[in-house]
Symmetry: C2
Subunit: 233 residues, 2 copies
Protein backbone atom coordinates (compact mmCIF):
# COMPACT_ATOMS: atom_id res chain seq x y z
CA UNK A 1 0.00 0.00 0.00
CA UNK A 2 1.25 3.48 -0.84
CA UNK A 3 0.13 6.85 0.42
CA UNK A 4 -3.09 8.56 -0.52
CA UNK A 5 -3.60 12.22 -1.20
CA UNK A 6 -6.89 14.04 -0.69
CA UNK A 7 -7.08 17.33 -2.55
CA UNK A 8 -9.92 19.87 -2.43
CA UNK A 9 -10.94 20.99 -5.91
CA UNK A 10 -11.24 24.75 -5.90
CA UNK A 11 -13.09 27.18 -8.11
CA UNK A 12 -16.39 25.36 -8.61
CA UNK A 13 -18.42 28.22 -7.10
CA UNK A 14 -22.18 28.29 -7.13
CA UNK A 15 -23.74 25.58 -9.33
CA UNK A 16 -26.96 26.32 -11.19
CA UNK A 17 -29.51 24.10 -12.94
CA UNK A 18 -28.17 23.05 -16.31
CA UNK A 19 -24.51 23.56 -15.39
CA UNK A 20 -22.22 20.80 -16.61
CA UNK A 21 -20.22 19.58 -13.61
CA UNK A 22 -17.61 17.97 -15.87
CA UNK A 23 -16.96 21.33 -17.52
CA UNK A 24 -16.69 23.03 -14.13
CA UNK A 25 -14.24 20.36 -12.93
CA UNK A 26 -12.12 20.70 -16.07
CA UNK A 27 -12.08 24.48 -15.64
CA UNK A 28 -10.90 24.26 -12.02
CA UNK A 29 -7.35 25.44 -11.30
CA UNK A 30 -6.91 22.13 -9.39
CA UNK A 31 -5.54 19.61 -11.89
CA UNK A 32 -7.35 16.26 -12.20
CA UNK A 33 -5.35 13.23 -13.41
CA UNK A 34 -6.38 9.89 -14.87
CA UNK A 35 -6.48 7.34 -12.03
CA UNK A 36 -7.99 9.86 -9.61
CA UNK A 37 -11.24 9.23 -7.82
CA UNK A 38 -13.42 12.36 -7.71
CA UNK A 39 -15.91 12.76 -4.90
CA UNK A 40 -18.73 15.14 -5.82
CA UNK A 41 -21.24 16.22 -3.18
CA UNK A 42 -24.90 15.51 -3.75
CA UNK A 43 -25.72 19.17 -3.35
CA UNK A 44 -24.04 20.30 -6.54
CA UNK A 45 -25.26 17.23 -8.44
CA UNK A 46 -28.85 17.97 -7.39
CA UNK A 47 -28.44 21.61 -8.38
CA UNK A 48 -26.94 20.79 -11.79
CA UNK A 49 -29.73 18.28 -12.41
CA UNK A 50 -32.33 20.83 -11.27
CA UNK A 51 -33.64 18.72 -8.42
CA UNK A 52 -34.67 21.98 -6.74
CA UNK A 53 -38.22 22.56 -5.54
CA UNK A 54 -39.74 25.86 -4.47
CA UNK A 55 -40.99 25.96 -0.89
CA UNK A 56 -42.54 28.67 1.25
CA UNK A 57 -39.55 30.40 2.84
CA UNK A 58 -41.68 31.63 5.75
CA UNK A 59 -43.08 28.21 6.64
CA UNK A 60 -40.47 26.09 8.45
CA UNK A 61 -42.51 22.96 7.66
CA UNK A 62 -43.07 23.61 3.96
CA UNK A 63 -40.56 20.95 2.91
CA UNK A 64 -42.36 18.25 4.86
CA UNK A 65 -44.70 17.15 2.02
CA UNK A 66 -41.55 16.64 -0.09
CA UNK A 67 -40.12 14.34 2.58
CA UNK A 68 -43.27 12.22 2.52
CA UNK A 69 -43.28 12.11 -1.28
CA UNK A 70 -39.60 11.07 -1.47
CA UNK A 71 -40.10 8.29 1.11
CA UNK A 72 -41.19 4.77 0.26
CA UNK A 73 -41.17 3.62 3.90
CA UNK A 74 -40.94 5.55 7.16
CA UNK A 75 -38.81 3.81 9.81
CA UNK A 76 -39.03 6.28 12.68
CA UNK A 77 -40.56 9.66 13.50
CA UNK A 78 -39.62 11.90 16.40
CA UNK A 79 -40.88 15.45 16.41
CA UNK A 80 -39.89 17.02 13.11
CA UNK A 81 -37.42 14.26 12.32
CA UNK A 82 -38.34 11.51 9.88
CA UNK A 83 -36.01 8.56 9.23
CA UNK A 84 -37.19 6.95 6.02
CA UNK A 85 -36.20 4.82 3.08
CA UNK A 86 -35.89 6.61 -0.26
CA UNK A 87 -36.76 5.30 -3.72
CA UNK A 88 -33.06 4.39 -4.07
CA UNK A 89 -33.16 2.27 -0.90
CA UNK A 90 -31.12 4.71 1.21
CA UNK A 91 -32.22 5.08 4.82
CA UNK A 92 -31.62 8.63 6.01
CA UNK A 93 -33.14 11.66 7.68
CA UNK A 94 -35.88 13.53 5.78
CA UNK A 95 -35.45 11.30 2.70
CA UNK A 96 -32.43 13.39 1.75
CA UNK A 97 -34.48 16.58 1.30
CA UNK A 98 -32.08 19.35 2.20
CA UNK A 99 -32.34 23.06 2.90
CA UNK A 100 -28.70 23.89 3.67
CA UNK A 101 -26.51 25.38 0.96
CA UNK A 102 -29.55 26.06 -1.25
CA UNK A 103 -31.25 29.39 -1.80
CA UNK A 104 -33.88 30.46 0.70
CA UNK A 105 -37.27 29.30 -0.61
CA UNK A 106 -35.85 26.18 -2.21
CA UNK A 107 -35.22 22.58 -1.17
CA UNK A 108 -32.87 20.14 -2.89
CA UNK A 109 -33.98 16.55 -3.54
CA UNK A 110 -31.60 13.64 -4.08
CA UNK A 111 -30.68 12.86 -7.70
CA UNK A 112 -33.23 10.52 -9.30
CA UNK A 113 -30.51 7.93 -10.03
CA UNK A 114 -27.30 8.82 -8.22
CA UNK A 115 -25.25 6.03 -9.84
CA UNK A 116 -26.29 7.39 -13.22
CA UNK A 117 -25.28 10.88 -12.09
CA UNK A 118 -21.80 9.55 -11.24
CA UNK A 119 -21.56 7.74 -14.59
CA UNK A 120 -22.58 10.89 -16.42
CA UNK A 121 -19.80 12.96 -14.84
CA UNK A 122 -17.26 10.18 -15.46
CA UNK A 123 -18.30 9.76 -19.09
CA UNK A 124 -18.23 13.48 -19.81
CA UNK A 125 -14.78 13.87 -18.25
CA UNK A 126 -13.58 11.08 -20.54
CA UNK A 127 -15.24 12.57 -23.62
CA UNK A 128 -14.18 16.18 -23.05
CA UNK A 129 -10.76 15.85 -21.45
CA UNK A 130 -9.69 12.27 -22.12
CA UNK A 131 -9.62 11.63 -18.37
CA UNK A 132 -10.09 8.12 -17.01
CA UNK A 133 -11.31 8.78 -13.46
CA UNK A 134 -13.71 7.22 -10.99
CA UNK A 135 -16.58 9.31 -9.62
CA UNK A 136 -18.45 9.05 -6.33
CA UNK A 137 -21.50 11.15 -5.45
CA UNK A 138 -21.51 11.69 -1.68
CA UNK A 139 -24.10 12.79 0.83
CA UNK A 140 -24.11 13.48 4.56
CA UNK A 141 -26.02 10.91 6.66
CA UNK A 142 -26.55 10.34 10.35
CA UNK A 143 -26.19 6.90 11.88
CA UNK A 144 -28.01 5.04 14.62
CA UNK A 145 -26.08 4.50 17.87
CA UNK A 146 -23.38 7.05 17.02
CA UNK A 147 -23.66 10.82 17.22
CA UNK A 148 -22.47 13.06 14.42
CA UNK A 149 -22.86 12.77 10.67
CA UNK A 150 -20.44 11.31 8.14
CA UNK A 151 -20.34 11.43 4.38
CA UNK A 152 -21.25 8.24 2.51
CA UNK A 153 -21.55 7.35 -1.17
CA UNK A 154 -24.97 7.51 -2.85
CA UNK A 155 -23.66 6.89 -6.35
CA UNK A 156 -20.47 5.66 -8.00
CA UNK A 157 -18.93 4.95 -11.38
CA UNK A 158 -15.64 3.27 -12.22
CA UNK A 159 -14.82 2.36 -8.61
CA UNK A 160 -15.73 -0.72 -6.56
CA UNK A 161 -18.53 0.09 -4.10
CA UNK A 162 -17.51 -3.01 -2.13
CA UNK A 163 -13.96 -4.34 -2.06
CA UNK A 164 -14.29 -8.06 -1.51
CA UNK A 165 -11.53 -9.64 0.57
CA UNK A 166 -13.21 -13.07 0.56
CA UNK A 167 -10.70 -15.81 -0.15
CA UNK A 168 -7.75 -13.71 1.00
CA UNK A 169 -6.00 -14.53 4.24
CA UNK A 170 -5.00 -12.23 7.06
CA UNK A 171 -1.38 -11.53 7.98
CA UNK A 172 -1.30 -14.74 10.05
CA UNK A 173 -2.57 -16.88 7.18
CA UNK A 174 -6.08 -17.34 8.59
CA UNK A 175 -9.04 -16.79 6.35
CA UNK A 176 -10.44 -13.31 6.99
CA UNK A 177 -13.81 -13.25 8.75
CA UNK A 178 -14.56 -9.65 7.83
CA UNK A 179 -14.59 -9.70 4.08
CA UNK A 180 -16.46 -6.90 2.41
CA UNK A 181 -15.25 -3.33 2.86
CA UNK A 182 -17.54 -0.49 1.79
CA UNK A 183 -14.73 1.25 -0.07
CA UNK A 184 -16.88 4.01 -1.58
CA UNK A 185 -18.20 4.99 1.84
CA UNK A 186 -14.67 5.19 3.26
CA UNK A 187 -13.58 7.27 0.25
CA UNK A 188 -16.58 9.62 0.64
CA UNK A 189 -15.76 10.06 4.35
CA UNK A 190 -12.11 10.75 3.54
CA UNK A 191 -13.07 13.38 0.96
CA UNK A 192 -15.31 15.19 3.44
CA UNK A 193 -12.24 15.87 5.60
CA UNK A 194 -11.06 18.49 3.07
CA UNK A 195 -14.50 19.90 2.29
CA UNK A 196 -15.65 21.74 5.38
CA UNK A 197 -19.39 22.16 5.08
CA UNK A 198 -19.08 25.94 5.25
CA UNK A 199 -16.26 26.44 2.76
CA UNK A 200 -18.13 25.76 -0.47
CA UNK A 201 -15.74 22.98 -1.52
CA UNK A 202 -18.02 20.62 -3.43
CA UNK A 203 -15.52 18.26 -5.08
CA UNK A 204 -12.42 16.51 -3.76
CA UNK A 205 -9.84 14.32 -5.44
CA UNK A 206 -8.71 11.07 -3.79
CA UNK A 207 -5.42 10.13 -5.44
CA UNK A 208 -3.50 6.87 -5.03
CA UNK A 209 -6.20 4.24 -4.58
CA UNK A 210 -5.28 0.66 -5.59
CA UNK A 211 -5.68 -0.01 -9.31
CA UNK A 212 -7.68 -3.17 -8.56
CA UNK A 213 -10.47 -1.07 -7.08
CA UNK A 214 -11.26 0.63 -10.39
CA UNK A 215 -14.13 -1.31 -11.98
CA UNK A 216 -17.76 -0.85 -12.98
CA UNK A 217 -19.96 -0.75 -9.90
CA UNK A 218 -23.09 0.73 -8.34
CA UNK A 219 -23.93 1.95 -4.85
CA UNK A 220 -27.57 0.95 -5.19
CA UNK A 221 -26.70 -2.59 -6.36
CA UNK A 222 -23.80 -3.27 -3.99
CA UNK A 223 -24.27 -1.14 -0.88
CA UNK A 224 -28.01 -0.95 -0.33
CA UNK A 225 -28.95 -3.86 1.94
CA UNK A 226 -32.20 -5.54 0.98
CA UNK A 227 -34.92 -5.32 3.64
CA UNK A 228 -34.94 -9.16 3.80
CA UNK A 229 -31.32 -9.34 4.98
CA UNK A 230 -31.58 -6.25 7.19
CA UNK A 231 -32.00 -6.66 10.94
CA UNK A 232 -33.04 -3.05 11.52
CA UNK A 233 -35.94 -2.43 9.16
Amino acid sequence: MTSLEIVPLTGIGEVRPGDDLADLIIASPTVVESGDCLVVTQKVVSKAENRLVDIDPDDPLSHKPLVERESVRVLRRRGELVISETIHGFVCANAGVDLSNVERGQAALLPVDSDRSARGIRDRLAARAGLDVAVIVSDTFGRPWRRGVTDVAIGCAGIAAIVDLRGTTDSLGRELMVTEVAAVDEIAAAADLVMGKADGIAVAIVRGLPEAWFRASSVVDEIVRSPAEDLFR
Copy 2:
Protein backbone atom coordinates in the same frame (compact mmCIF):
# COMPACT_ATOMS: atom_id res chain seq x y z
CA MET B 1 -8.72 23.82 3.28
CA THR B 2 -5.48 22.26 2.14
CA SER B 3 -4.69 18.74 1.02
CA LEU B 4 -4.48 15.73 3.31
CA GLU B 5 -2.00 12.92 3.10
CA ILE B 6 -2.69 9.40 4.37
CA VAL B 7 0.46 7.38 4.92
CA PRO B 8 0.67 3.71 5.95
CA LEU B 9 3.13 3.22 8.78
CA THR B 10 5.34 0.26 7.92
CA GLY B 11 7.43 -2.08 10.04
CA ILE B 12 5.14 -2.63 13.01
CA GLY B 13 5.05 -6.40 12.46
CA GLU B 14 3.37 -8.80 14.88
CA VAL B 15 2.40 -7.17 18.18
CA ARG B 16 2.59 -9.23 21.38
CA PRO B 17 1.18 -8.68 24.89
CA GLY B 18 3.29 -6.14 26.72
CA ASP B 19 4.67 -4.52 23.57
CA ASP B 20 4.78 -0.73 23.72
CA LEU B 21 3.00 0.60 20.63
CA ALA B 22 4.63 4.03 21.01
CA ASP B 23 8.08 2.40 20.86
CA LEU B 24 7.07 0.39 17.79
CA ILE B 25 5.74 3.55 16.10
CA ILE B 26 8.92 5.48 16.88
CA ALA B 27 11.03 2.60 15.52
CA SER B 28 9.11 2.50 12.23
CA PRO B 29 10.98 3.66 9.12
CA THR B 30 7.91 5.82 8.40
CA VAL B 31 8.55 9.23 9.99
CA VAL B 32 5.85 10.65 12.28
CA GLU B 33 5.65 14.44 12.71
CA SER B 34 4.05 16.65 15.34
CA GLY B 35 0.61 17.68 14.07
CA ASP B 36 -0.06 14.23 12.60
CA CYS B 37 -3.08 12.18 13.57
CA LEU B 38 -2.18 8.51 14.04
CA VAL B 39 -4.86 5.90 13.50
CA VAL B 40 -4.06 2.65 15.31
CA THR B 41 -6.22 -0.43 14.73
CA GLN B 42 -7.95 -2.02 17.69
CA LYS B 43 -6.32 -5.35 16.94
CA VAL B 44 -2.80 -4.26 17.83
CA VAL B 45 -4.04 -2.23 20.80
CA SER B 46 -5.88 -5.28 22.14
CA LYS B 47 -2.79 -7.44 21.62
CA ALA B 48 -0.44 -4.97 23.31
CA GLU B 49 -2.88 -4.69 26.23
CA ASN B 50 -3.19 -8.48 26.38
CA ARG B 51 -6.92 -8.53 25.74
CA LEU B 52 -6.45 -12.03 24.30
CA VAL B 53 -8.45 -14.98 25.57
CA ASP B 54 -7.77 -18.66 24.87
CA ILE B 55 -10.57 -20.47 23.09
CA ASP B 56 -10.95 -24.03 21.82
CA PRO B 57 -9.54 -23.89 18.29
CA ASP B 58 -11.62 -26.91 17.22
CA ASP B 59 -14.93 -25.49 18.40
CA PRO B 60 -16.23 -22.80 16.02
CA LEU B 61 -18.59 -21.56 18.76
CA SER B 62 -16.08 -21.37 21.59
CA HIS B 63 -15.91 -17.55 21.45
CA LYS B 64 -19.65 -17.24 21.95
CA PRO B 65 -19.58 -17.11 25.76
CA LEU B 66 -17.13 -14.21 25.41
CA VAL B 67 -19.63 -12.35 23.22
CA GLU B 68 -22.32 -12.75 25.86
CA ARG B 69 -19.94 -11.64 28.62
CA GLU B 70 -18.81 -8.53 26.68
CA SER B 71 -22.41 -7.50 25.90
CA VAL B 72 -24.54 -5.36 28.17
CA ARG B 73 -27.57 -5.49 25.87
CA VAL B 74 -28.37 -7.66 22.85
CA LEU B 75 -30.18 -5.79 20.08
CA ARG B 76 -30.58 -8.53 17.47
CA ARG B 77 -29.70 -12.17 16.94
CA ARG B 78 -29.75 -14.04 13.63
CA GLY B 79 -28.10 -17.46 13.49
CA GLU B 80 -24.56 -17.06 14.78
CA LEU B 81 -24.67 -13.28 14.51
CA VAL B 82 -25.24 -11.17 17.61
CA ILE B 83 -25.60 -7.38 17.40
CA SER B 84 -25.08 -6.04 20.88
CA GLU B 85 -24.06 -3.07 22.94
CA THR B 86 -20.68 -3.26 24.65
CA ILE B 87 -19.67 -1.90 28.05
CA HIS B 88 -18.33 1.16 26.19
CA GLY B 89 -21.71 1.78 24.54
CA PHE B 90 -20.65 0.68 21.06
CA VAL B 91 -23.22 -1.25 19.07
CA CYS B 92 -21.49 -3.82 16.87
CA ALA B 93 -21.37 -7.45 15.83
CA ASN B 94 -20.27 -9.99 18.42
CA ALA B 95 -19.46 -7.25 20.96
CA GLY B 96 -16.20 -6.64 19.14
CA VAL B 97 -14.86 -10.13 19.90
CA ASP B 98 -12.63 -10.94 16.96
CA LEU B 99 -10.90 -14.02 15.60
CA SER B 100 -9.23 -12.60 12.48
CA ASN B 101 -5.57 -11.57 12.64
CA VAL B 102 -5.11 -13.35 15.98
CA GLU B 103 -3.46 -16.72 16.57
CA ARG B 104 -5.59 -19.81 16.15
CA GLY B 105 -6.97 -20.70 19.58
CA GLN B 106 -7.27 -17.08 20.67
CA ALA B 107 -9.89 -14.34 20.51
CA ALA B 108 -9.24 -10.61 20.90
CA LEU B 109 -11.54 -8.49 23.05
CA LEU B 110 -11.93 -4.71 22.72
CA PRO B 111 -9.68 -2.59 24.93
CA VAL B 112 -11.26 -2.02 28.36
CA ASP B 113 -11.16 1.77 27.86
CA SER B 114 -10.32 2.62 24.24
CA ASP B 115 -10.10 6.38 24.87
CA ARG B 116 -7.54 5.67 27.59
CA SER B 117 -5.66 3.42 25.16
CA ALA B 118 -5.46 6.32 22.70
CA ARG B 119 -4.33 8.72 25.44
CA GLY B 120 -1.65 6.26 26.55
CA ILE B 121 -0.13 6.06 23.07
CA ARG B 122 -0.32 9.83 22.65
CA ASP B 123 1.28 10.50 26.04
CA ARG B 124 4.11 8.01 25.48
CA LEU B 125 4.88 9.45 22.04
CA ALA B 126 5.16 12.86 23.70
CA ALA B 127 7.33 11.58 26.55
CA ARG B 128 9.69 9.44 24.47
CA ALA B 129 9.99 11.36 21.23
CA GLY B 130 8.69 14.84 22.00
CA LEU B 131 5.91 14.32 19.45
CA ASP B 132 2.64 16.24 19.72
CA VAL B 133 0.24 14.02 17.80
CA ALA B 134 -3.41 13.00 17.99
CA VAL B 135 -4.28 9.31 18.26
CA ILE B 136 -7.39 7.44 17.17
CA VAL B 137 -8.02 3.76 17.93
CA SER B 138 -10.11 2.31 15.07
CA ASP B 139 -12.21 -0.81 14.63
CA THR B 140 -14.18 -2.31 11.77
CA PHE B 141 -17.96 -2.20 12.20
CA GLY B 142 -20.93 -3.15 10.05
CA ARG B 143 -23.88 -0.80 9.64
CA PRO B 144 -27.62 -1.29 9.37
CA TRP B 145 -29.16 -0.59 5.95
CA ARG B 146 -25.82 -0.55 4.12
CA ARG B 147 -23.72 -3.55 3.13
CA GLY B 148 -20.00 -3.70 3.76
CA VAL B 149 -17.97 -2.70 6.78
CA THR B 150 -16.15 0.57 7.45
CA ASP B 151 -13.61 1.57 10.06
CA VAL B 152 -14.81 3.86 12.85
CA ALA B 153 -13.16 5.34 15.92
CA ILE B 154 -13.53 3.56 19.26
CA GLY B 155 -11.08 5.79 21.10
CA CYS B 156 -9.34 9.12 20.59
CA ALA B 157 -6.93 11.53 22.22
CA GLY B 158 -5.92 15.02 21.19
CA ILE B 159 -8.43 15.23 18.32
CA ALA B 160 -12.08 16.36 18.28
CA ALA B 161 -14.43 13.36 18.08
CA ILE B 162 -17.14 15.73 16.88
CA VAL B 163 -16.42 18.88 14.89
CA ASP B 164 -19.21 21.25 15.72
CA LEU B 165 -20.28 23.56 12.90
CA ARG B 166 -23.14 25.04 14.93
CA GLY B 167 -23.26 28.77 14.57
CA THR B 168 -21.38 28.76 11.28
CA THR B 169 -23.16 29.54 8.05
CA ASP B 170 -23.08 27.72 4.76
CA SER B 171 -21.58 29.22 1.60
CA LEU B 172 -24.88 31.05 0.94
CA GLY B 173 -24.92 32.61 4.41
CA ARG B 174 -27.71 30.42 5.76
CA GLU B 175 -27.28 28.77 9.11
CA LEU B 176 -26.17 25.17 8.60
CA MET B 177 -28.79 22.58 9.52
CA VAL B 178 -26.30 19.70 9.67
CA THR B 179 -23.94 20.76 12.35
CA GLU B 180 -21.98 17.98 13.99
CA VAL B 181 -19.52 15.99 11.91
CA ALA B 182 -18.10 12.78 13.39
CA ALA B 183 -14.57 13.75 12.44
CA VAL B 184 -12.86 10.81 14.14
CA ASP B 185 -15.02 8.33 12.26
CA GLU B 186 -14.22 9.98 8.93
CA ILE B 187 -10.51 9.96 9.83
CA ALA B 188 -10.66 6.27 10.81
CA ALA B 189 -12.39 5.44 7.52
CA ALA B 190 -9.80 7.41 5.57
CA ALA B 191 -6.95 5.60 7.31
CA ASP B 192 -8.42 2.20 6.47
CA LEU B 193 -8.00 3.01 2.77
CA VAL B 194 -4.22 2.51 3.13
CA MET B 195 -4.38 -0.45 5.47
CA GLY B 196 -5.74 -3.35 3.48
CA LYS B 197 -6.97 -5.92 5.99
CA ALA B 198 -4.58 -8.56 4.62
CA ASP B 199 -1.41 -6.48 4.49
CA GLY B 200 -0.63 -6.23 8.18
CA ILE B 201 -0.61 -2.42 8.17
CA ALA B 202 -1.87 -1.57 11.66
CA VAL B 203 -1.15 2.14 11.87
CA ALA B 204 -1.69 5.00 9.43
CA ILE B 205 -0.81 8.66 9.56
CA VAL B 206 -3.37 11.30 8.55
CA ARG B 207 -1.42 14.48 7.89
CA GLY B 208 -2.84 17.96 7.24
CA LEU B 209 -5.98 18.09 9.40
CA PRO B 210 -7.12 21.58 10.50
CA GLU B 211 -5.35 22.84 13.61
CA ALA B 212 -8.68 23.72 15.22
CA TRP B 213 -9.59 20.03 15.38
CA PHE B 214 -6.77 19.20 17.79
CA ARG B 215 -8.24 19.28 21.31
CA ALA B 216 -8.96 16.96 24.23
CA SER B 217 -11.87 14.67 23.39
CA SER B 218 -13.37 11.21 23.88
CA VAL B 219 -15.22 8.83 21.57
CA VAL B 220 -17.28 7.40 24.41
CA ASP B 221 -18.33 10.85 25.66
CA GLU B 222 -18.95 12.52 22.30
CA ILE B 223 -19.83 9.81 19.77
CA VAL B 224 -21.77 7.18 21.73
CA ARG B 225 -25.43 8.11 21.49
CA SER B 226 -27.33 7.58 24.71
CA PRO B 227 -30.14 5.00 24.49
CA ALA B 228 -32.61 7.75 25.45
CA GLU B 229 -31.86 9.82 22.33
CA ASP B 230 -31.47 6.79 20.06
CA LEU B 231 -34.33 5.82 17.75
CA PHE B 232 -32.95 2.35 17.01
CA ARG B 233 -32.38 0.75 20.39
